[in-house]
């Protein structure tokens, strides 16, 4: 009885806290809701946060947009779709944000995208790589910034086909990203080089690669080349084990994402020479747009940017430009503005395609090597995302009708 009363007290306190603790919104600002899995993927998302905070500071210093300052309400979504949807609900219903942006893992991105569709609120997916978020599960209210798994894979295929290697080994983290990358790579390479064979496929549990055995199994398959979509700790273990066992000596390797500072920097002395990667050589991009970004970033944080920083920065810029173009915080106007929205990012101008809501942001494609004991991209070119998407009629078929 008494304990029950205690429960009652908790319930009441909870209701009261939730009911009355709504923060007072600063008058006249435009509120944007941001959610991400900060504690689950800090290596990417700490720089990401710095990126959007820099952009936010610049925008507000220049007077904001539509004559109002911007306020970002940022939340940790705990890396789970369930919590993310709750956080999104909170941002929408309690904070009254104009729209949502952020997310990192694909399942969280998809969940929030579907929530956006249900709630009829704009969602700018910053980082999720899954093709589905703009294609099979695409919806009217969701737009995605980063080049997808498909696009980044497609960026590597021309170089892969050029080598005319016949026997390919594939290694990938065993979840949707790795599976999609593998599928896309096989499909696109077969198209470019019909005699390609895939002699072994190693699906490793994410974060738990048994690197010795995997390297051995790949070596035993005697491949002419390797395609990998590993990243993070799996990549580091794979690289070290492969170096020790001489797997990469005469076998070229193509590895998605491995040129991103987040994943390349930890390799240091271990960095394999000559791998083909997608990435972000911040030290060598000499466009004016990037230079401005780099200087501002280094000045503010006394640190170099990672790819996450660029994504965060570009996400914030997208939000600002969408508001500017829409001239309003009305969702329908914002959605209309997002379709075909063009803006400048540190990586160059991008457009959010009206067709499938995918931005044309690209990535740098090139090869990696060591410089002063650190991994860097030694040669690279910018691959514009617009050139690595399937033909429009194919995309239309993939995407459900609105």
């Amino acid at each position: 009885m008494k304990a029950r009363r205690h429960f009652l007290a908790i319930a009441a306190a909870l209701a009261a806290a939730a009911a009355f603790a709504a923060p007072a919104a600063a008058q006249g600002t435009i509120k944007i809701g941001e959610l991400n899995s900060y504690k689950n993927f800090p290596a990417f998302l700490e720089p990401y946060k710095k990126g959007w905070e820099l952009a936010l500071e610049q925008v507000n210093a220049a007077g904001g947009v539509l004559g109002r300052k911007i306020e970002v309400v940022s939340r940790d979504d705990n890396g789970t779709p369930g919590d993310a949807v709750r956080v999104a609900e909170e941002l929408v219903s309690r904070e009254g944000v104009a729209f949502l942006m952020g997310t990192f893992p694909s399942n969280v991105g998809l969940a929030v995208a579907d929530f956006a569709k249900q709630k009829k609120i704009l969602f700018i997916a910053a980082e999720p790589l899954t093709d589905k978020i703009v294609w099979e599960s695409g919806n009217r209210y969701t737009f995605r910034l980063r080049p997808s798994t498909y696009m980044q894979t497609a960026m590597l295929v021309p170089d892969a086909a050029k080598l005319k290697k016949k026997r390919w080994a594939i290694v990938y983290p065993n979840y949707e990203y790795g599976q999609s990358a593998t599928r896309a790579f096989k499909e696109l390479l077969k198209k470019a080089q019909p005699d390609a064979e895939f002699v072994t496929e190693q699906a490793v549990p994410l974060g738990k690669i048994d690197a010795g055995a995997v390297v051995q199994a790949i070596a035993d398959a005697k491949p002419d080349a390797i395609f990998s979509s590993l990243f993070g700790p799996d990549l580091a273990r794979f690289v070290r084990e492969g170096n020790t066992r001489g797997l990469f000596k005469d076998t070229p390797v193509f590895n998605l994402l491995a040129g991103e500072p987040e994943y390349l920097d930890p390799l240091k002395e271990e960095t394999p020479e000559g791998w083909y990667v997608t990435g972000y050589p911040w030290y060598g991009i000499d466009t004016a747009a990037h230079k401005r970004f780099l200087d501002a970033y280094q000045k503010k944080y006394n640190d170099y940017p990672r790819l996450g920083s660029v994504v965060g920065y570009a996400t914030m810029m997208t939000a600002v430009e969408a508001l500017r173009k829409a001239g309003s915080t009305d969702t329908e106007k914002l959605v209309a503005a997002m379709k075909g929205l063009t803006l400048d990012t540190p990586l160059g101008p991008i457009t959010y395609r009206a067709l499938d809501h995918q931005s044309t942001m690209g990535a740098y494609v090139g090869r990696i090597g060591k410089k002063d004991g650190k991994g860097v991209m030694t040669t690279y070119t910018y691959a514009d995302g617009a050139r690595y998407l399937p033909p429009d009629d194919e995309v239309k078929k993939l995407r459900p009708a609105e």
Binding site: A3, R4, L8, K39, R86, R94, N107, P266
Partner: protein, 638 residues
């Protein structure tokens, strides 16, 4: 042939690694009966500490090996500190309550590591003298792996000598068999426990530090390591160190075999053994536990509740006052949409869903005495069952809400048949194995379950699409569920269940079929967890495999323990407290994991029987003094 030998050696190297991760956990459990969730965190700390020490002293032989040993010693010292400062205070708490404290430590350590070492993966240097490879049958094989292959058995032998050839070891072994006996011998049990915990932590730290040349220090290591460690310890037999070695060998070799086989075509069907690595250790564990209920070399454990553990006092069914109080809570909750903000309603839905989930878990943990580490499987089966029937079979949402839980109940019926043959931690780990197998199916079966991305567009019917309407649906389902569970608790069946837990001997002697009673309890709990899962899916509009991941199961356990495992309102209070705390802390602070962990630690120390359990104990009087419908705790008779 050369390939087979090479893969066998790879398996041996993994086995040594697994053994080093697991052996400390086995030792700690064997003596103190603590299920140390933070063991993986200690392993992670070992790796980070070794990285820093080697970085400071340089990768010379002295710097490297000194760094490895130094890191292990540091972690051992931390283990001793944790034991003295925290665990020692709660040895007399109900069974598995220490698990809650170690869970809190996981949260705190994770954030502390992030704060101190930053988010970037840290790949350490190669070991001096063991940097290259040697050719074995023409295949290059890392020298360091050869070293590891030797270190595993070496540690096994040293531990054997320590336990069998020293007085301290004799005492530890005695304590493994009979804790009271050691106390009676006049040995200071406390320091023995501290010593064992420190040694276990040292071994975890050593296991981590020795991985420096093989893997980067990173923030997910705690969870992967703890999962590996538990599997090895349980497969080997809890408390058996040679068993842990054997289990590590078995799992290491089977994994290497799966990877070596890759994709094999049998009769036109391609089977990817490589994909099996996602879950193979859990399949091994399930098979071992079904065949040998105490692991490979384990022995049946003495009762989990040793002397000094509190005994549950008789519960009295709900009287009128209790019914009124229940109605008052219900009325308050019903008034929430009118009185609270829209977000309060959203949060309340989550809390209600978890309350039912936790209540269903309590139903098997409390009256049936079966701890589950895999209860999320049934939450997930309910969610997936409902979502798949909606999306793939096109059934109306209302029907799926009833059928989803049925799917969960069927799953529980199937797995429960095996589970109830076991007891204690073995039982808990078998539930985990089954949960992981179900999870891996949902995770990999892209075409049907949506794979790791899950399913989207799982929204309720139009009339329920408003948050308020859905809230009332949730409230109705949860209130009915909680009421039914309470009712069953006080029914003849509920009594019989409790009888089987209190004294299997006596229950058997008065005609009760305990196995059957427990199996039915498992199915009931599965069905109610399924209701919670189905509601959760529809409240979010999407589901993905994380609804049945280990972390969800652990959350459920934490809620039950937080509230008080032998109280009926405990899980409800625990679910509310945990969900609300997490939401509030995560919203307002950056290092929210650490603060959540610290809060849980505080609750653990201040309420060593769970929130409701402790209140009941404070407020309760002697023989029958437990508040109505509550169960109080008293010390078992000496």
């Amino acid at each position: 042939m050369a390939s087979i030998v090479a893969q066998f050696l790879n398996g041996l190297a993994s086995a040594s690694t697994l053994f080093l991760i697991a052996v400390g956990l086995s030792l700690i459990f064997g003596v103190t009966r603590i299920v140390n969730f933070a063991h993986g965190s200690l392993y992670m700390l070992g790796l980070y500490a070794a990285y820093s020490l080697i970085d400071r002293f340089g990768p010379t032989p002295l710097g490297f090996w000194g760094g490895v040993i130094g890191a292990a010693l540091l972690v051992g010292a931390l283990g001793a500190l944790v034991e003295v400062a925290i665990l020692r205070r709660i040895y007399r708490a109900p069974e598995l309550f220490q698990l809650l404290a170690t869970f809190a430590l996981v949260l705190v350590i994770r954030d502390a590591v992030l704060w101190h070492w930053g988010p970037e993966d840290l790949l350490g240097p190669r070991a001096p003298g063991f940097a290259g490879s040697v050719a074995i049958l023409g295949k290059p094989f890392p020298e360091y792996d050869l070293l590891l292959i030797a270190v595993g058995p070496l540690v096994l032998v040293l531990l054997w000598l320590l336990l069998n050839r020293t007085r301290w070891g004799t005492l530890v072994r005695a304590a493994t068999q009979d804790r009271e006996m050691v106390g009676a011998l006049g040995v200071n049990e406390r320091w023995l426990f501290t010593g064992v915990f420190a040694l276990g932590a040292f071994l975890a730290g050593l296991g981590g530090a020795l991985q420096i040349p093989r893997e980067p220090a990173q923030l997910f290591l705690d969870l992967t390591a703890i999962s590996d460690a538990f599997v090895v310890v349980v497969v080997g037999g809890m408390g058996s160190i040679p068993g842990a070695f054997l289990a590590a060998l078995l799992i290491g070799e089977i994994k290497a075999l799966c990877i070596g086989l890759g994709t094999v075509t049998v009769g036109g069907v391609a089977i990817s053994f490589s994909k099996l690595t996602l879950v193979v250790e859990f399949i091994v564990m399930a098979i071992v536990l079904i065949v040998r209920p105490y692991g490979l070399l384990g022995k049946p454990l003495a009762m989990q509740r040793g002397a000094g553990a509190p005994v549950e006092l008789p519960a009295r069914p709900d009287g009128r006052a209790m019914a009124l109080a229940g109605l008052a809570v219900l009325a308050a909750l019903a008034a929430l949409p009118a009185a609270g903000t829209p977000y309060a309603v959203v949060l309340a839905i989550d809390i209600l869903v978890f309350a039912l989930f936790a209540a269903s878990l309590q139903f098997i943990m409390g009256p049936a005495g079966m701890v589950s580490f895999g209860h999320a499987a049934y939450f997930g089966l309910g969610a997936y069952g409902a979502a798949l029937l909606l999306k793939r079979a096109g059934l109306p949402m209302e029907a799926t809400l009833a059928l989803g839980p049925l799917v969960a109940a069927l799953g529980a019926a199937l797995f429960g048949a095996f589970v109830v043959r076991l007891s204690g931690v073995y039982l808990a780990m078998l539930t985990l194995a089954f949960a992981q197998i179900v999870w891996s199916i949902a995770f990999q079966w892209d075409a049907f379950t949506g794979g790791s991305n899950g399913l989207v567009g799982v929204w309720p019917s139009g009339w329920l699409s408003g948050k308020t309407a859905f809230y009332f649906l949730t409230l109705a389902c949860v209130a009915a569920g909680v009421f039914l569970l309470r009712r069953i608790h006080f029914s003849p069946y509920g009594y019989a269940l409790r009888a089987g837990r209190d004294s299997p001997l006596r229950a058997d002697a008065i005609g009760l079929d305990i196995g059957r009673l427990q199996w039915v309890a498992f199915v009931i709990a599965g069905a109610f967890a399924g209701v919670a899962g189905a509601l959760a899916g529809y409240s979010k509009g999407s589901i993905s495999p994380e609804v049945m991941a280990v972390s969800r199961s652990v959350d459920g356990l934490v809620m039950v323990l937080l509230g008080g495992v032998q109280t009926l309102s405990g899980p409800l209070v625990g679910a509310a407290a945990f969900t609300w705390l997490q939401d509030t802390i995560a919203r307002n602070t950056e290092y929210w994991r650490a603060i959540l962990g610290a809060t849980i630690l505080f609750i653990v120390l201040a309420f060593p029987q769970g929130i409701v359990g402790q209140l009941a104990a404070w407020l309760g009087s002697r023989d029958r003094g437990a508040p109505e419908g509550m169960v109080g705790w008293r010390r078992r008779r000496a």
